[in-house]
Amino acid sequence: MTTGTIPSGTNRPSKLKQRGHLGSRLRKFWPLYLFLLPALIYLALFHYAPMYGVLMAFKSFKPIKGILGSDWVGLYNFARFFRMDMFRTLIVNTLTLSIYALAAGFIFPILLALLINTCVLRRFSRVLQTITYLPHFISMVVMVGIINLLFSPSLGMFTHLLNALGIIEGPLTLLLSAKAFNDLYVWSGVWQSMGWGSIIYLAALSGVDPALHEAAMLDGASKFQRVRHIDIPWIMPTMVILLILSCGNLMNVGFEKVFLMQNAMNLGVSEIISTYVYKMGILNAQYSFSAAVGLFNSVINMALLLSVNALSKKLGDTGLM
């Protein structure tokens, strides 16, 4: 989505005329601008105004002095984070988990949307849609509780089932396995968010001109070919935009779920930036440190978002900005 620009050499209206034009638009369409005003105020108050809090990352924050009054320490908190023994482990764990989650979590909503869209039985597809997006409403705490109940080493449902089928003997050690942590985290997340994530693709697919499909059917195209040559190209811009937005959140692996799933056995892979900052920064009241790590996260996310956006525009002229 690129904004239009006025070509050079075009006669531009004079400033006086522009002001008049703007003024008259304001007078003419004031209800619309008034309609927009609360959203702007909200953005200003809750998204832009609090930005000054980022200064905390460069200060040694003391509540007594407030953010602006606290001592300036420059990049001390960042340097402290980079110098930590755990730094490399945290980055590796965070990136591994988030890239895995992105890769798996990106594909399946698309596949589900395509499947639902091509389903002939309307009632079935509606029921399927409802069932698949219900897990989205389960809270993270309940979700991890379900995981623990199902996969509990001695008492879990799957433990009993697999023992009964003779597939394993004794406890199921998935929850204790560091290797299985990423898989458990990602695929439970895919199960939970797949349905909800497919909604936006279904909305995009509903805009496909039926005449295209009719024409393709007349030409003898199979269902798969129609999906490949009509549906997928149609939702490609949506896919790219959502991928770019997901890349912009790459470093923000959810804290809650990881923290709840963490135990002594998987700590080597489950200790990510957000859980470490929680233990170090929040529980020990080191807010400047937490702010510095949070800012570091955001800068990386921003850089990733811009890079992926640029790459996407270069490759396919579709981009967020």
Binding site: Q18, L22, A49, P63, K65, G66, I67, Q286
Partner: protein
């Protein structure tokens, strides 16, 4: 159309400029955390002292200087923060608040904070209630609040309005040192409980006595006997009262309460928890680590043997506190042995241990630190009735006030009055106690020092079998090496940077030890291959620096 296209970017620009201006102005407005000049006394003092030249009643005429019934001559309401405790139930239902209101005229509106994170945020946001009971805050948060003038300084008021505490600090100068912040002043009162069977013992090691009898086994005296018992429990699961899903031995891995540390202690490896670390102990004034102790390796190998033989459930690594509580209170029992504070009224839990590991080392069991639980009572600056609040604190610590209701509970349920003595009931009938007749215990302020214990309290439980008191005196007392216990070192004895480093080292090293020992227990890693390199790896993370810092703080405390 062209004109519209030209106007649109300018309009967008105008809007962005407006928003940024708003943000700029918002950033320039000073928030609630403006710098306050510290008063000469370093904190806020109560109105009574500033108007001491005039003979007026404190708190603007509301508070009576003496007497508890009432404390105030018109009803007042104070907001009171307290941290949540899962085993305490719903604080708001407790009868004691009504009694306080009836007797003193002070109504307390409770604000229950879910966890430490909420407590820290309360201090960071400086949005305080009138008073606070137990919050377990970071000491640095309390120090910052004191420097900011958010806390009422208590020293000038203690003599007149909290004489109980004034006398205690004069008789126990070390305790006074504990509660002081950096400027040497007192801004909070502690919880003091000097009952030796509480402070000198952490967990009791319990075995299921009913199962032991059914299996016709004697009480285990050695680690080998204990393993035999566990094997028999596993073999007989599903028979008699032993359920099919019985867990022979249950611990909450790496937890200070209910963890594996008393097993280590049976191998002569004594360790205490201090400032976030579990593997340290005191040796003639020097803080040392058990990490390089070869007996610790033997203890871990013993646990690994139990685990890999299926005598410990894998859930020891995944369960949380809630799961642990449900297992220790489960009726009927589902585990053959565990460690916990007391038997919770479950008659099948019989104390055992410490066990002889056969390595010719003394067998220990862990103590807790005798001292004080800091910051059990604080008064915040916006409290209109600081003197009434302090008098309430005194009342809760006074044997002639509500000390025994707050600490012990209720007559006929938790104690019986025999002459002047409060005779604590050996086993509390929890059906009579219900949800509203529970004592607050260590969730508020109390002063149970040696004087109170000897003068007022009597514990028939010391003569009643299967009580904590009896088991401590008859079984555990000689195995508790109190000289190896490291006292809690308040954050006030470290600089800000040292506190940051301690937090970092403690977090990193504890996580590393927790993970490494777990892999040895499960057999995922080989202890024989990794043992020798353990200390070197820890030192790379700053373990020795951490110990040095702790030693420095301890030396300062003892000066």
């Amino acid at each position: 159309m062209k004109k519209r296209d030209q106007a649109r970017p300018r309009l967008l620009a105008l809007m962005v400029i407006t928003v940024l201006l708003v943000a700029l102005l918002a950033g320039c407005v000073s928030g609630p955390a403006t710098t306050q000049k510290p008063t000469t006394t370093g904190g806020t003092t109560a109105t009574a002292t500033t108007t001491a030249s005039k003979p007026v009643l404190p708190d603007g005429g509301v508070t009576n200087p003496t007497g508890y019934e009432p404390i105030v001559n018109q009803p007042i309401t104070l907001t009171a923060a307290i941290i949540y405790g899962a085993h305490m139930g719903d604080f708001t239902k407790y009868e004691i608040w009504k009694n306080i209101e009836t007797k003193t005229g002070i109504k307390l509106e409770l604000n229950i904070l879910a966890d430490r994170e909420k407590v820290n945020l309360m201090f960071a946001s400086r949005d305080f209630p009138d008073i606070a009971f137990r919050l377990d805050p970071q000491n640095t948060s309390v120090m910052d609040a004191a420097e900011a003038g958010d806390l009422v300084q208590l020293d000038p008021l203690l003599e007149q309005y909290a004489p109980i505490w004034n006398e205690f600090f004069q008789e126990n100068p070390l305790m006074a040192k504990y509660v002081q912040v950096r400027d040497g002043k007192i801004y909070s009162l502690p919880y003091v409980e000097w009952l030796e069977w509480n402070t000198n013992l952490r967990d009791q090691w319990f075995i299921n006595g009913d199962w032991l009898n059914e299996l016709n086994l004697p009480e285990p005296k050695t680690t080998a006997d204990f393993k035999d018992y566990l094997i028999k429990v596993k073999e007989n699961a599903g028979k008699g009262s032993i359920p099919a899903n019985a867990i022979p031995f249950y611990i909450l891995y790496n937890s200070y309460i209910g963890g594996q540390f008393d097993v280590y202690a049976s191998f002569g490896v004594y360790m205490c928890q201090t400032n976030g670390q579990n593997y340290l102990y005191m040796d003639n004034g020097k803080i040392k680590s058990q990490v390089a102790n070869p007996n610790l390796k033997e203890a871990i190998k013993y646990l690994a043997d139990l685990y890999q033989s299926g005598l410990m459930a894998p859930e020891i690594f995944t369960d949380d506190w809630g799961a642990y509580v449900s297992k220790i209170t489960s009726e009927p029992a589902i585990t053959g042995s565990l460690g916990t504070h007391n038997n919770n009224g479950k008659t099948w839990w019989k104390a055992i241990g410490p066990l002889d590991s056969g390595n010719n080392r003394p067998s220990y069991i862990r103590a807790q630190s005798k001292g004080v639980r800091l910051n059990a009572f604080m008064i915040f600056k916006d409290n209109k009735y600081p003197v009434a609040s302090l008098r309430l604190a005194n009342m809760l610590s006074d044997p002639e006030g509500l000390l025994f209701e707050e600490f012990l509970g209720y007559e006929g349920i938790h104690y019986n009055k025999v002459g002047d003595k409060y005779e604590r009931v050996a086993m509390v009938d929890t059906t009579k106690q219900g949800e509203n007749l529970k004592p607050l215990g260590n969730y508020t302020i109390a002063l149970i020092d040696d004087n109170i214990v000897s003068k007022f309290l009597s514990f028939p439980a010391t003569k009643t079998k299967d009580t904590r008191e009896y088991d401590y005196l008859n079984r555990y007392k000689s195995h508790v090496p109190t000289e190896m216990q490291i006292p809690s070192i308040p954050d006030t004895y470290f600089t800000s940077q040292e506190n940051e480093l301690i937090a970092q080292y403690a977090t990193d090293c504890d996580a590393f030890l927790k993970k490494t020992v777990a892999t040895w227990i499960t057999g995922d890693a080989d202890i024989e291959l990794e043992w020798d390199g353990l200390l070197a790896k820890l030192n790379k993370m700053g373990y020795q620096d951490y110990i040095n810092l702790m030693q420095k703080g301890y030396n300062k405390l003892m000066e």
